[in-house]
């Protein structure tokens, strides 16, 4: 049986005055009913664009989209605007980062819920209002009968996100896309919202895609994780694999930059150096090479494909380093060693910063190379 949602080789680029922005570049993933997929990456890594494209919200004259997004056998990329509109908020719902700015400030929360219900369901206003109260109760907002007639600004941040979730659940979607659902919230509220999502999934059996820049957020509730960098997936594995045996230097960076309670006082967090690359003038070779502590000469010209590990077909990574070397480096990092001290493990110890910047500036195109043995033993 095919999965609920299957994204295949999705490419999205925008024409802008400064050039073509390659926001999403050959991304594939799938998610099935009752499962949760995490898409993790920095801002500008294409994680939001790929999900907005699923809903058809990036369609415009200046956007070029290719690939396939198959939802229950229908290709959403070729679906008409009207077909998509009937799927949006109905079979696929989405919640956004900032619940205050994502709710209309001039309409009562109840009104916005009723609207969401009545777009897709032919029910009376009073029936929809009753359902709105039920939904508010479902997402754990106390005193729903009073809250339904309040405006978003009268809600607290956590309650607003709950209201957003209630709105997304209005028509019992099969897939819920949560774009940074906890980023704008207090840490204690974050945990509540994540628990709520998980609880609702257990009860309603939907598929969830959680998009976040924070690996810590998705650790508890996802089954699988895609790590995105510069519009591509650089690592894709089960959540356990990602945390126990991550393979990509970028994933290592994400994990070692999460503060942990069991960390020794005085132990430094290890930030990922540099900044996300421009999506107009992308680096040559491996897109991560300008920021990778373990960069080699050939990484500047060779573009690593996303390939399964030799011993685990469900764990895919796009890295040119030898698999054994990667494991040694990760073991070193796990033991608390500094990336700089592990650099020599990678081989010829090519200095990471200066030449990388030069190659970016030149914008040299990576020559087409046959898939190298990224995961070869």
């Amino acid at each position: 049986m095919s999965p609920l949602l299957e994204v295949e080789d999705l490419r999205v680029s925008f024409d802008t005055e400064d050039g073509v922005v390659h926001a999403v570049d050959g991304v594939s993933y799938e998610v099935d009913t009752g499962r949760t997929l995490g898409i993790v990456g920095e801002s500008g890594s294409g994680k939001t664009v790929s999900s907005l494209t699923t809903l058809g919200l990036t369609r415009s004259r200046s956007t070029r989209i290719s690939g396939r997004i198959v939802f229950e056998g229908r290709d959403l990329l070729t679906a008409s605007t009207d077909e998509l509109r009937r799927i949006r908020g109905n079979e696929i719902a989405m919640i956004f980062q900032d619940p205050l700015s994502s709710l209309h400030p001039f309409y009562k929360v109840g009104h916005q819920l009723v609207e969401a219900i009545r777009i897709h369901r032919d029910v009376s206003r009073s029936a929809a209002h009753k359902r709105a109260i039920d939904l508010i109760e479902l997402v754990g907002i106390p005193d729903p009968k009073r809250r339904v007639d309040q405006y978003p600004h009268e809600f607290s941040g956590g309650m607003r996100q709950r209201a957003m979730i209630a709105m997304a659940l209005a028509n019992e979607p099969k897939l819920l896309i949560a774009d940074e659902p906890t980023t704008a919230l207090d840490v204690t509220v974050q945990a509540q919202i994540l628990a709520l999502l998980q609880d609702l999934q257990d009860r309603l059996g939907m598929a969830i895609i959680i998009i976040t820049h924070d690996l810590g957020v998705v650790a508890e509730i996802t089954d699988e994780i895609c790590v995105m960098y510069a519009g591509r997936i650089v690592e894709h594995a089960s959540t356990d694999q990602i945390f126990e045996a991550p393979e990509h230097p970028y994933t290592w960076g994400l994990i070692t930059s999460i503060p942990r309670l069991n960390q020794q006082r005085g132990d430094d967090l290890v930030p990922i150096s540099g900044r996300p690359p421009s999506l107009i003038q992308r680096p040559s070779g491996c897109f991560f090479h300008p920021r990778c502590p373990y960069v080699q000469k050939r990484h500047r010209t060779e573009d690593p494909p996303l390939a399964p590990l030799p011993d685990n077909a469900r764990h895919q990574v796009a890295c040119l380093l030898d698999a054994n070397i990667r494991r040694q480096i990760w073991n070193g990092l796990k033991a608390g060693r500094n990336p700089a001290s592990l650099r020599r493990l990678a081989g010829d110890g090519y200095p990471s910063r200066a030449p990388a910047v030069a190659s970016t500036a030149l914008g040299t195109e990576a020559p087409e190379m046959p898939p190298s043995g990224a995961g070869a033993p």
Partner: protein, 320 residues
Amino acid sequence: MGRYIIRRLLWAIVVLIIVSAVTFVIFYALPSADPAVLRAGRSPNPALIAHIRHTLGLDKPIYVQYWLYLKGVVLHFNFGYSYQYSLPVRTLMFQRLPATISLTVGAVIVWLLIGLPIGVISATRPRTWMDRTTMGVSLLAISAPVYWLGLVALFLFANDIGVVHIFDGADTYTGLTANPGRWFGSLLLPWLVLAASFAAFYARLLRANLIETMSEDYIRTARAKGLPEWRVVLQHGVRSAITPIVTVLGLDIGILMGGAVLTETVFDIPGVGRLAYDGIQNADLPVIQGTVMLGAFFIVIANLVVDILYAYLDPRVRYT
């Protein structure tokens, strides 16, 4: 809210008193024609001028004059007598108000009907030929002074002096109750002329607001809900973008109710603006004073109405 309104109304009285004082001072401080001399005929003698000055009360010190004026307004709602017409200013103003209200209300309807749809259409199709055309034309309309536009319109379209005879020309105003058909016909051209620059301004304002609103997160939410695009634009976008426009509209109505001086003069409409213009021409202090007070009154009230309306339109705004 009630207390807020009362406080604002008390402030309105203070503002009106200040406005009347300033008008008084300006009238005396600035070199204008002496009202007494103006009325003394072609070969005045000093005795006659002194007599007229005494009858008009101009021989008293300025602060006494002002005090008497203020007393009349507050105690008897009496704005004095026009030097020119020898009629109570109050009567003159009430006679002239219907024409001004007719002109204002009609023009407001015209400019909203033209300006708002253009604003929405341009905002939803930015940088298309339609957007560029309407915005270009609107810039011309904003730049054209109303007296120039009025004269051009009369020379082109008026029944009497026009190149093509389409509309009733100047000085054809008829009261609504006297003859509704002629009332409408006589005001059609003034409405269009007065509304032109306002329609253009409102179109541009709504376009700018709506373009900004359409990039808000809650618009994305509305789309993600599966709302059809026209409902996203009208119910979610315009609903927000229109709020600042309501503010401007309230003030514009307030200003025009005090008399659209240029339009009323060009089309010879007997409104409050025309009355004020004549008052200035004839150094008719009580008329000037009265029309200025009336204008100030409308603006102050419009401000209050706008603020109250704003709280109603934007639930985040609350007055205490």
